[in-house]
């Protein structure tokens, strides 16, 4: 009887710490998601004007970093991978490195395809596209009269 109560007293703080860790991960995920949303809405606001390309790219880069942070928290805390045996983690982390090549190669490929198309495989200069408008940025003298049915 006494040993049982002793065991309970001993396991309780550990148990509380685990639950606390889970909720802490939840709050971190929530904050990161809100930061992502703030960045997304900032891009939306900036797009109404004429933002510089590198500024938008920088904000998008921040969003990607927040996303990687979220992925890290989900994998290490929720999926308990941080508590697993090191070599088991490596047996999955090393194949995952293929993604570095995968992402780089395909984005470079897509970019190259666009350049080749825009210049007819380098045989002519790329011409700037005609002016295009955002739905929320109606030019003066033009009505936004074609709306959804």
């Amino acid at each position: 009887m006494t040993s049982e109560t002793n065991a309970q007293v001993l396991t309780l703080p550990d148990d509380e710490a685990k639950v606390k860790r889970i909720w802490k991960a939840f709050w971190v995920l929530l904050v990161l998601t809100i930061l992502e949303l703030a960045c997304g809405l900032l891009i939306y606001q900036l797009d109404k004007g004429n933002p510089s390309y590198s500024l938008i790219l920088f904000i998008k880069g921040c969003i990607v970093i927040f996303t990687i942070g979220k992925a890290f928290y989900i994998i290490s805390i929720f999926m308990h991978l941080g508590d697993e045996f090191r070599y088991m983690v490596l047996s999955m982390a090393i194949p995952m490195c293929l993604f570095i090549w995968f992402i780089t190669a395909f984005l470079v490929d897509g970019n190259s395809y666009r350049n080749l198309r825009n210049t007819d495989a380098g045989s002519r200069q790329y011409q700037e596209q005609e002016l295009r408008y955002m739905p929320m940025n109606v030019p003066p003298g033009v009505e936004n009269k074609y709306k959804a049915e």
């Binding site: 148990d15 939840f26 929720f78 088991m88 993604f99 897509g110």
Partner: protein, 245 residues
Amino acid sequence: METAAVVQSTKSVWSGGKSPFKTSYGKLMMWYFLVSDSFTFGGFIISYAAIRFSSNYWVDHNYVFNEFPGIAGNAPLAFVSLMTFILIFSSVTMVLAVHQGHKMNKAGVEKWLFLTILGGLAFLGCQAWEWTHLITGRHAVLVGDQIQYWGTTMTHNPWGPMVVFNGGLVATPGPVAFGGYFFGITGFHGFHVFSGVVINTVMLIKTRLGHFQERGHYEMVEKAGLYWHFVDLVWVFVFLSFYLI
């Protein structure tokens, strides 16, 4: 004498009966399945990214996904944030169910599993609304020299570049690949959510029947949990690639 002792201990390490990765077979195989599944999703998303990089124009997600049921007017990102919060929250309830399983607390596992299933169903409901809204909502598109009204589908994209026509601003047809990638990838993810809900329901029934209590451990709930967290993890990247950047 010493060498003999070394041989003895080496033999005992190599003679089996031990998990080399200090985990059970089932959990390890679930992890390896998730690794392979992440390559499937990765392949889809990277293909989408490559096509997007190869285009001069892509749709602006802030105008495609800007509606919220019950709110008239423009609400960019609002609905998809709700979906994201639902999925993150259901991930927390799942990890709490696994935690109760470690403590052999049957009632606790039931309670948190039930909430996880509710979260999954809520997410699927949101996705059904979003798809219906996209497919059936018609938008003006300038095709040739006449205005047509298109929904967003695998074959039609009314979110192309805006041009001035008869003194009014109107969209032209956008890249068709958008619909295919959007419905393909969110559909594949939605199917994962659906199967996760089915798996969690089976886990809830088996918990109710006391199968895991009899077995002495809740490892099946843990494996279902790994799958469910993976579904949440994939959504983090779907959210990034379709709604944020």
